[in-house]
């Protein structure tokens, strides 16, 4: 990994506060020049290539592998199989904590899903390893595959998502429905989806005795390190992971999956560095996905359009061997003020890799169903969808009754609707055509995502030359951590951003927690903020206790750090530079650590969520059924905006993802074999440039004193929620056809 040379366009450098500035990303130039080293770009001397052979059946057993044929192929060095592999220190089937998922690392001949790794061929070249994997010509004993939402006996999972109860209720739903004047009872379906990060999962592993150097994209350096340590029985300080850049993760690179472990095992087996990169189609199995759902919503409203009850049930799937349950129904907990709410889940087990967090897990699937159903309910009540949502605006969190720590959703509705021109919408569907005769429809959806906090630590230093350093093992998945966190760091130590050496992306730095749950900027940012405050306090101590300093006697609380100086709060004329303070004290640098963590007391008291409102316009060909989104406006309130430029990009990305959910994305599974038939980016459709209309993002001011010290809520996932439903609702408004199975297909609109 070459020295990171992060840059900012000089025009963007600003004195004073860094937070809030729209800096361009500091790793942008590196990336454009191809100098940003992703994991697979590493080639240590002597490196071999490993290629996984994966199962073509979804359920059964491997009965034979032609290892001899593979080994005869020129260039093949070794073939790792269940019978020939390094021993792990613990059984990979043991779940040592809730964030450990079972993985397939050749522990047996059993096949539990299609594309499961069944052997690894290691060779001098990628081509030889690839052909070696083909020559293995596996034979199987095939058992019937469990496929789809009706695969077998359903059950109520113990928990959904991360430890959420499978069922929740408040008030009497049946009574609420019985008393309703208007009622709907509708079933929505969402398909399996795959993360499809642009960068496939990859690892380059080099063992040196019992220590190991790992290049691997990860959203959780320390979680990965801990898992490697326990699987291989080595101490934490023997492991060094570098993950400076990820080409997207979306949840699939959060927890250690089987393939990188196989890369480590392969390197150990052959005693040489090994690179293992997944092929695109191999990402449809062992590295997680979003499970399909079938959601039934029963909603009642009184004559005024006030909700009387909201019942949201979600059926989902997990794998046959582990548990992750898409918490889709939980989307109904926070948005609409129904006096009676019930959410529940059940599931069946199917032969897939275990589902996993995928960008807005639960919120995305739940939101498209809930927002569509709310739209149906508004129509049933004869009300404008925005008026209906305002009528049922939740002043406190409906499922808990807690007040919100902040909630500027009303402003989102107002500003978004004004920008979009929503007031001109016809109530009736299929009323509007453009000049070319295309049907035009307008739809909206409410966006929401919890404001989470995890645990993180950072180390800050201020040096005698007047520069600062901030170290934190944070992760840049493309969202802009190299930039946004450095902005927070700059303010935390009172220096311009180019005077702060910001280090991130390796496992030898303080633990930044996980880049997930839209909580990374908030959590890592809080740690940086507190480390900065701590180091400034130390520096202030040096100055204010020294009679020779103009700050003598000011006391810790009495100075502020700005532009490389400590300044008396009550008298800005009295100040001293960091260099002067440290030189006089005869110290090279002062350093301190700080942490970021959730505040249990605040969480007990408040419901904490980001909110938004998304408005979409679609055009539909009235005879041919092809759909095109022509306009989207999203207004989001997500606390303090650290970098408006990056935040906008995150929200754009989320809105596009939402559009993709409504119109494009689906892993097509063969109902007999359980194989995914479109495991490539040519046929697994996501929007291309031509599908993406001008997007308009408004960030609504929101001050939140409770979520964390900086008042930051996340923006990584919320953009999907609301958007998917807005597009679906716009399709209904354009055509008058309510499609309840996503993605919406042409044939459903051929009326």
């Amino acid at each position: 990994m070459p020295e990171l040379n992060l840059t900012s366009a000089p025009a963007h450098l600003r004195h004073g506060s860094s937070i809030g500035q729209p800096l361009t990303r500091r790793d942008g130039v590196l990336k454009v020049k191809g100098q940003a080293t992703y994991a697979a770009d590493n080639h240590p001397p002597g490196m071999l290539f490993a290629v996984m052979a994966v199962s073509s059946i979804a359920h059964g057993r491997v009965t034979s592998l032609d290892v001899a044929a593979a080994k005869r192929h020129p260039g093949v060095v070794d073939v790792m199989t269940p019978d020939h592999k390094p021993q792990l220190a613990i059984d990979p089937e043991i779940k040592t904590n809730p964030f450990v998922f079972r993985m397939e690392v050749l522990q047996s001949n059993e096949v539990r899903y299609a594309n499961q790794p069944i052997a690894v061929v290691i060779a001098e070249t990628l081509e030889a390893a690839t052909e070696g994997a083909v020559l293995l010509a596996p034979c199987y004993e095939t058992l019937p595959a469990l496929v789809g939402l009706d695969a077998g006996e359903s059950f109520v999972p113990p928990v959904v998502g991360v430890g959420n109860p499978a069922e929740n209720h408040r008030g009497d739903v049946e009574a609420g429905l019985a008393s309703a004047e208007k009622q709907i009872d509708v079933v929505y379906e969402t398909p399996p989806q795959y993360h499809n990060a642009m960068e496939p999962h990859a690892i380059v592993a080099s063992w040196d005795d019992d220590s190991v150097q790992i290049d691997m994209p990860t959203q959780g350096l320390m979680l990965s390190l801990t898992r490697v340590a326990e699987l291989f029985g080595i101490a934490h300080d023997k492991i060094h992971i570098r993950s400076p850049f990820l080409g997207g993760g979306f949840g699939s690179k959060g927890l250690m999956a089987g393939p990188p472990v196989l890369g480590l095992m392969a390197a150990k087996l052959v005693g040489r560095p090994v690179k293992l990169v997944l092929r695109r189609e191999q990402m449809y199995g062992p590295v997680g996905h979003r499970a399909p759902t079938r959601q039934r919503l029963r909603i009642g409203a009184d004559g005024e359009g006030c909700l009387t009850a909201l019942d949201h049930h979600a059926r989902t799937v997990s794998s046959t061997f582990d548990d992750f349950y898409e918490p889709a129904a939980d989307a109904s907990h926070t948005l609409y003020a129904a006096p009676a709410i019930r959410t529940s889940h059940d599931a069946v087990r199917v032969n897939t890799g275990t589902p996993l967090f995928m960008r807005a897990p639960g919120e995305a699937t739940g939101s498209i169903a809930l927002e569509s159903a709310i739209d149906e309910m508004a129509w049933a009540c004869g009300m404008d969808p925005l008026a209906f949502r305002l009528k049922n605006y939740a002043e406190v969190e409906p499922i808990t009754g807690k007040p919100f720590s902040s909630k500027a959703l009303r402003a989102c509705y107002d500003q978004g609707a004004a920008r979009f021109g929503w007031s001109k919408r016809s109530l009736q569907p299929r009323q509007t055509r453009d000049d070319a005769g295309l049907l035009v429809g307008w739809g909206m959806g409410t966006a929401t995502f919890p404001a989470l906090m995890f645990q993180a630590e950072a180390r800050a230093a201020i040096r005698r030359d007047g520069t600062g350093a901030m170290e934190i093992g944070a992760h840049d998945m493309g969202q802009g951590a190299w930039t946004a966190l450095a902005q927070i760091a700059a303010d935390a130590v009172g220096l311009d951003i180019d005077r702060v050496e910001f280090k991130a992306g390796t496992s030898d730095l303080p633990d930044a927690g996980i880049a997930g749950g839209s909580a990374h900027t908030a959590t890592a940012g809080a740690a940086i903020h507190s480390a900065g405050a701590a180091v400034i306090a130390k520096l202030a101590d040096l100055a204010t206790k020294d009679q020779r300093s103009p700050l003598f006697g000011a006391g810790n609380a009495g100075v502020i750090a700005r532009d490389g100086r400590l300044i008396r709060r009550d008298d800005e004329n009295r100040s001293e530079s960091y260099t002067e303070i440290l030189a006089r004290a005869g110290v090279a640098e002062v350093e301190a650590r700080g942490t970021g963590a959730p505040n249990p007391a605040a969480m007990e008291e408040y419901a904490m969520h980001a909110h938004g409102a998304v408005f979409a316009e679609v055009k539909v060909d009235p005879e041919l059924g092809q759909i095109r989104v022509t306009r989207m406006v999203g207004a989001f309130a997500a606390g303090r905006i650290v970098n408006p430029h990056l935040v906008k990009s995150q929200l754009f990305g989320g809105m596009i993802w939402g559009m993709s959910f409504a119109l494009h994305e689906e892993a097509i599974t063969d109902r007999r074999s359980g194989r995914i038939m479109n495991a490539n980016l040519g046929e697994y459709h996501i929007p291309v440039n031509a599908d993406v209309p001008p997007l308009d993002v408004i960030t609504v001011d929101e001050y939140d004193p409770h979520v964390n010290a900086l008042g930051i809520k996340g923006v990584g996932e919320i953009g999907i929620t609301g958007s998917a439903g807005a597009v679906a609702n716009a399709v209904w408004h354009a055509t008058g056809v309510r499609v309840r199975r996503f993605p919406i297909r042409i044939e459903e609109l051929l009326t």
Partner: protein, 351 residues
């Protein structure tokens, strides 16, 4: 990857000799073939790279008014030849609606004609596929087949030919020039692709070693330039294969259709020329009723091969629309969203 020989012949004769060997395959830009090789779907022993052959990358106007397009002309170069676009606008609209700009820059005319089906079971080597492995069965028949054929299919194979380019070409009576072991011959494009019958593995009329050297459009083809369109319904605005497409070309004289040409894409194992529909349009006024009638004729023999009955109705509607658009006149410029139902939408800046 399987090891294979790579040869780069200097002349067409050498190429034909090299490719006539069992296990040999021509390599053009490789945008389809290399994908198939990476997936283990094609495992040739020898690649005969034709991209360095001289003289096959020209667009020639012949004295009789026809145009001869060399097999190595790239899809993009052909589409961006202004003179060609003026004479054969539907061909250009089809080309520009296919794949992506990057793929079109690489892909060749010959390769486009001979690209393989996109049937997922053909690509998935763990599935049974009569086309990939003769006699093994067809997993698409009872599988995920909502985009499969509705015309000309057999119990052995329900795949479609995915090319957009071929659809207007077949409507305009394109001719394929072939160099083979017995010298040069030519056939109508309509005869190049075979319907599956009992032998879906035999996809074309080509014999081992046969090299497509050029595609010719006959002198009559530019006569349709004023009323020629391609329309392609797909699941996203760009970079997707057709669910169903149609090329419609009319010669209108004195308010009547003197001659009509109509072909469908995405419905059969070959670009589907709808001659019966053309017949009913001859000599009638270009009215909605006439187009409806033509659409019914075009799909008269259609039947679903799976979860795809909707494609029949969709195809009818596409025929009507394509004919309507053609009758309205070829636009002065190729739309920014070529062949799209949204072609007329203003403000579209990507294709």
């Amino acid at each position: 990857m399987k090891q294979f020989d790579y040869v780069r012949p200097a002349t067409v004769a050498e190429a034909v000799a090299a490719a006539a060997q069992p296990g040999a395959t021509y390599l053009a830009a490789g945008t389809n073939l290399l994908d198939l090789m990476k997936g283990g779907v094609s495992r040739p022993d020898r690649l005969v790279d034709v991209t360095h052959l001289d003289g096959l990358d020209q667009i020639e106007r012949l004295a009789d008014g026809s145009v001869r397009i060399g097999a190595l002309v790239s899809n993009a170069d052909l589409a961006h030849d202004a003179e060609f676009a003026k004479s054969y606008p539907a061909v250009v609209e089809a080309l520009l609606s296919g794949a992506s700009a990057q793929l079109r820059n690489a892909a060749t005319v010959g390769g486009n004609l001979l690209q393989r089906t996109r049937c997922a079971y053909f690509y998935d080597t763990a599935s049974r596929c009569n086309k990939r492995e003769a006699g093994s069965g067809c997993d698409a028949r009872e599988g995920e087949n909502r985009t499969h054929a509705v015309l000309g299919w057999s119990e052995s194979c329900i795949a479609t030919h995915p090319s957009d380019f071929c659809v207007p070409l077949v409507a305009l009576d394109a001719i394929v020039e072939i160099e083979g072991r017995n010298g040069r011959r030519e056939i109508a494009l309509d005869e190049l692709h075979r319907l599956p019958g009992h032998t879906p593995e035999r996809e074309s009329a080509l014999e081992p070693g046969d090299l497509i050297v050029a595609v010719r459009l006959p002198p009559a083809a530019p006569g349709f330039a004023a009323h020629a369109r391609y329309l392609k319904v797909r699941e996203r605005t760009s970079y997707a294969f057709a669910v169903v497409s149609a090329a419609a070309a009319l010669r209108i004289e004195n308010g009547k259709i003197a001659e009509a040409r109509l072909a469908l894409g995405g419905v059969a194992a070959k670009p589907w020329r709808a001659r019966a529909a053309e017949d009913v349009l001859r000599g009638v006024a270009p009215t909605a009723d006439a187009f409806q009638d033509a659409a019914w004729r075009a799909l008269a023999d259609a039947k679903p091969s799976g979860d795809n009955a909707y494609k029949i109705e969709l195809a009818r509607r596409i025929v009507v629309r394509a004919l309507t658009l053609a009758a309205a006149g070829t636009p002065a410029r190729i739309p920014a969203l070529p062949a799209s139902p949204f072609a007329s939408t203003s403000g579209a800046i990507h294709a």
